[in-house]
């Protein structure tokens, strides 16, 4: 007799109380001594909720975006500090140390786009920030915390990639030069050398806007999802040329976010079809379809220990413990 199929996985637990659609998620591993990680969520109505994973309850609510959707959250090691980006065209820097939750600085953004920012935290003192720039196709690079503009990355006139949709700053182990991966409205992904302000390479991955991308710098391999029915896996060769390695066709169109787990074993893709799909990162073999939400899944995030959080238009955040972390 054939073994019965494994039952579909269940969330470990579900966080309720965001009170509007969840658009951003980020695990904060907690400063030394604080132990338990926190989960941060950003909502459609502009609030950031800080959840204790120990009690599974909100420990603090941050209101800094005038009721406008919070699209991106990122913590910085110093402080600890939190960056939150909102559709109110503001990027807030929060001080979260010792239970404080005050805005200590903010950056005014010049583009209404949907593009989330990206951070490259080099030294403890200074860090680099990439955000959508003034021109609709531009990316602006700032040095923080001084907010000094480093440069603006504008594609050549004939390229016409449209708006930047998603960004990822990174640095190769071999070179100190900061690099930026950007997914564009026309479905292409480009690699920028920030210092020389030049596009190293650009490749068409999708026929629809790129909604999310993640990059595994050790394998020099990345993945992107778009409004269409495919996930694209691409790689970077030693000449820093991007190349599409393969595409993975999905049942339904629309991927809002993709994330590779820190141990680089699995990949999670947030679907407009209310589902989260999990793949083996090396082989892209589909491992599981997480069916729990009753609306579009807007964002996914992994904790250092492998815990997966997914945020949805149904106002819920589900937390999953899948395939033990290595």
């Amino acid at each position: 007799m054939a073994a019965p199929p494994l039952p579909p996985p269940d969330p470990q637990f579900v966080l309720r109380g965001a009170q509007s659609a969840v658009h951003a998620l980020h695990f904060c591993e907690g400063a030394q001594g604080q132990g338990r990680p926190l989960l941060l969520s950003g909502s459609l109505r502009g609030l950031v909720h800080i959840w204790s994973l120990q009690t599974r309850r909100v420990v603090a609510t941050l209101d800094g975006h005038g009721g406008q959707c919070v699209t991106w959250l990122q913590t910085l090691p110093q402080g600890p500090q939190l960056l939150s980006q909102g559709r109110d065209l503001k990027l807030c820097v929060w001080d979260l140390a010792e239970g404080r939750n005050a805005v200590v600085d903010s950056v005014l953004l010049e583009s209404v786009g949907f593009c989330r920012g990206s951070v490259l935290a080099g030294g403890l003192q200074r860090w680099m920030l990439a955000v959508p720039g003034r021109g609709s196709d531009e990316v602006q690079i700032l040095e923080m915390p001084s907010k000094t503009s480093v440069c603006s990355l504008k594609p050549e006139a004939q390229a016409r990639p449209g708006m930047p949709m998603c960004l990822q700053l990174w640095q190769a182990d071999s070179s100190p030069r900061p690099l930026l991966l950007a997914g564009y409205e026309d479905g292409s992904v480009a690699l920028w050398d920030v210092s020389s302000r030049k596009v190293c390479s650009r490749v068409a991955c999708h026929t629809e806007p790129v909604m999310g991308l993640d990059f595994d710098s050790q394998e020099a391999r990345g993945v992107s999802g778009s409004a269409e029915k495919t996930l694209a896996v691409w790689s970077l060769d030693e000449q820093q040329a991007l190349q599409v390695r393969g595409t993975h066709v999905l049942t339904n169109p629309g991927i809002a976010d993709v994330k590779i787990r820190p141990d680089r074993r699995i990949l999670a893709a947030a679907g407009w079809d209310h589902r989260v799909r999990v793949f083996h990162w090396r082989t892209m073999k589909p491992l599981a379809v997480l069916a729990f939400h009753s609306a579009t899944v807007h964002c996914v995030a992994f904790a250092a220990d492998g815990l997966l959080a997914t945020g949805s238009g149904d106002q819920r955040i589900s937390v999953w413990s899948l395939y033990p972390c290595t």
């Binding site: 269940d10 969330p11 637990f13 579900v14 309720r16 109380g17 120990q54 599974r56 309850r57 819920r316």
Partner: protein
């Protein structure tokens, strides 16, 4: 009752017997001295302490063979003196200590003295608390003694009577108290730990043959209004009365618990919990006892009810204790240990194959315990009853453990509520009386330990944890058939602040209901009823601020209106269910929906329109009980939307009802007493009773009213059964009122 208060008086009384004892050392003389001591005041005793101890110590020290009984009575007498006085000189203390220790240990043989357990017990009690603990040589002696007692313990527990067991266990307790943290020397020996645990497991075996346990049923779920008792000073010490196979003396059980608590307090908790957890897993034969022991180990580890004689001993740290408790809790509430078959009713086991299968396994594996436990003199109850009893006790013991754990962790237990509260609440609604009692008492414990004023507050403030469990379990309803019950209890205890949370889970409930229409309708309809009852209680229609609303976009519906709309939608389908019980309940839910929706006519009227045909069917073609409920719904509806109802009622319902009243009248006029039991009679009565208040409420016109009145008039005849006459008269009074006379 001291008669002699001054040392002078006391000396006069005690001197002769002390002299006598020094001369002739017999049990009788010791007992006489002991008797005299009872009438001497403590202060006088303190003055004469050394004088009285002299003949006693002299007896211990006299060379030559000693009769054990004499020694024992001497030691008991010394204990009495020491317990009422204070040893002020260091020298005396040391001498006494070594003299008493010698009774436990014979220096020549390098082995524990071959003294009886009673004697050792007397010595231990004499040494206990009054003597400085910490002598190394003494610890070695005790350790040696404990080793040997552990070895013989299983045999002693098996062969002794209750009095003997009491003495042996008292001795064991004494050793543990005196050894303190050094008890680990003994526990670290695998062989000795096994002997010790074997004895405990064996003696704690329950008698599970009592049929009443399975039979006692619990029907009422409105029991959660009680507040936790704060008067109990040692709440962890309370428990349900249980019956053991090998002993009846309650004191033996008390000692066993203390032994386990001391082990938990001084022993290596990880080692002990691992050991007894293994036994818990090993066999259903050990499971209940192992759980009892685990429960007490945790109580002891937290230092509850344990008097620490060893200042240097450090209690288990709270973080570690929490980890240990979490792991035990996980085990207790796991699918295979929490969902055991405890009754054979169809609604419990019949519906779900999965439940049935796991249940049968539990039955099969439980069967042989029972044969071992049945007393041979009585007719053997069926193994099924025994194994169900055994399962009931296992659940009760585990519930009791959860209550203990709460006290052990105190406010820290709040962190465990996310996993503990749901399973406990689930059992609070269990049909077996013993289980629901144990669950409620566990919840009381939790309230007290975590600082909640009432069970309602406990449930209310942790509804997020409950909703999480409910929503995840609804995904696998066949594995968790009691989920709707938990939601129902939660709803009964929730207030308006939980509305968003409730709204969230209601969507899950409705989705699940849509998938399981056939199988689980009863429990879901109960949930819907509890839900609407809660909404009705909380519904203060919020004032809509006209200035604030965008005229183009209709404002979003309030949560409770959205919920009531969704539920009423389902009621339309469920109103024609084949089960009368369900139809009745659905009519009640429908009635509540109408109440909640009264301020939202735009939602209510279309739904009422769709519900109408089925409602008419209930009124004109259903059981009398359903007719009455349907009338009630119409009355409620009539109060909210009379215009909508009036013409439809006069067109669709009134002629049929009036017609049937007219055609039935000659039959009931001729009928004998048997007729009162017929459906026809009950229907006549229901219609006559229902029409009056409804017609009044609907404000019917005179023409329509007269149609009904004509039908009712026939029933005023003296030939009609009295009840029908009364109902008709009552209707006509309503009519008079309706016409405004």
């Amino acid at each position: 009752m001291a008669v002699f208060d001054t040392p002078e008086e006391a000396f006069g009384v005690l001197r002769p017997i002390c002299v006598q004892l020094t001369k002739t050392q017999t049990v009788e003389n010791v007992e006489r001295l002991q008797a005299q001591l009872q009438v001497v005041s403590d202060s006088a005793l303190q003055e004469l302490q050394q004088y009285i101890l002299f003949p006693l110590r002299f007896t211990l020290k006299t060379p030559g063979p000693k009769r054990e009984h004499l020694i024992q009575s001497v030691v008991e007498c010394i204990t009495l003196v020491l317990s009422s006085t204070c040893v002020k000189e260091q020298e005396l203390l040391q001498e006494l200590f070594s003299e008493l220790s010698a009774c436990l240990y014979s220096p020549n043989s390098q082995k524990p003295a071959a003294a009886s357990e009673e004697l050792k017990l007397a010595v231990i009690q004499g040494l206990n608390e009054k003597v400085v603990v910490g002598s190394r040589a003494f610890a070695d002696i005790l350790s040696e003694n404990l080793h040997s007692l552990a070895t013989s313990l299983p045999r002693l527990m098996n062969s002794q009577d209750d009095q003997g067991r009491f003495s042996t266990l008292s001795l064991l307790l004494g050793y543990l108290k005196l050894l303190g943290p050094k008890v680990n020397f003994v526990l670290n020996s695998v062989a000795h730990l096994q002997r010790l645990s074997k004895a405990l497991i064996q003696v704690l075996e329950l008698d599970v043959t009592d049929i009443k346990i399975v039979e006692e049923r619990h029907w009422n779920s409105e029991h959660l209004s009680t507040s936790p008792e704060t008067s109990a000073s040692r709440p962890w010490a309370q428990m349900q009365r249980r019956y053991f196979r090998f002993f009846t003396d309650e004191r033996v059980f008390l000692l066993l618990r203390q032994v386990c608590q001391l082990l938990g307090f001084y022993g290596n908790l990880y080692l002990l919990v691992d050991h007894f957890m293994e036994l818990y897993h090993e066999s259903v034969v050990y499971r209940k006892q192992a759980a009892m022991i685990l429960n007490e180990l945790v109580v002891g580890a937290a230092g509850l009810g344990v008097e620490n004689l060893h200042e240097k001993h450090i209690k288990t740290n709270p973080e570690e204790l929490r980890e240990i408790v979490t792991s035990i809790l996980e085990e207790y509430t796991s699918q295979e240990n929490w969902y055991l078959v405890t009754c054979l009713e169809a609604e419990e086991v019949g519906e779900e194959l999965t439940m049935m299968r796991s249940g049968l396994q539990a039955l099969a594996s439980g069967a042989h315990t029972c044969q071992a436990t049945s007393p041979p003199t009585f007719s053997k109850p069926s193994p099924t009853i025994c194994s169900m009893n055994s399962n009931i006790w296992q659940i009760c013991i585990q519930l009791e453990g959860i209550g203990h754990f709460a006290h052990a962790l105190g406010i820290d237990f709040r962190l465990l509520l996310m996993s503990a509260l749901y399973p406990v609440l689930e059992k609070a609604g269990d049909q077996t009386l013993l289980i629901s009692q144990a669950a409620i008492s566990a919840m009381m414990d939790i309230c007290q330990a975590c600082g909640y004023d009432s069970l309602q507050q406990l449930i209310n403030q942790n509804s997020d944890y409950l909703v999480n469990g409910i929503s995840l379990n609804l995904r696998h309803l066949s594995l968790h058939p009691h989920t709707p019950k938990v939601l129902e209890v939660m709803l009964q205890n929730s207030d308006a602040s939980l509305l968003p949370l409730v709204a969230d889970v209601v969507q899950d409930v409705l989705t699940t209901l849509d998938q399981f229409y056939d199988k689980r309708t009863t429990s879901f309809v109960s949930v819907l009823h509890a839900l609407l009852a809660a909404l009705e209680e909380q519904s203060d229609p919020p004032e809509v601020d006209e200035n604030d609303t965008d005229p183009g976009v209709p404002p979003p519906l309030p949560v409770q209106i959205q919920i009531a709309t969704d539920v009423m939608e389902r009621c339309i389908h469920l109103m024609s269910d084949k089960s009368l019980k369900i139809r009745l309940k659905v009519l009640d839910v429908l009635d509540l929906c109408v109440v909640v929706l009264q301020s939202h006519k735009n939602q209510l009227l279309p739904l009422a329109h769709r519900a109408w045909p089925s409602l008419v069917h209930r009124l004109t073609n259903d059981d009398p009980l359903a007719v009455l409920r349907a009338f009630k719904v119409l009355r409620t509806l009539g109060g909210k939307c009379g215009d909508f109802l009036r013409s439809r009622f006069c067109k669709d319902v009134l002629p049929k009802l009036a017609g049937s009243l007219v055609s039935q009248a000659p039959i009931s006029a001729r009928a004998g007493p048997v007729y009162f039991h017929t459906l026809a009679f009950k229907l006549q009565l229901a219609v006559l009773q229902g029409l009056g208040p409804l017609c009044e409420r609907l404000d019917l016109g005179e023409g329509d009213l007269n149609k009904v009145a004509d039908a009712c008039l026939i029933y005023l005849s003296a030939k009609q059964p009295v009840k029908l006459q009364e109902a008709a008269r009552s209707f006509l009074i309503h009519k008079v009122k309706a016409l405004g006379y």
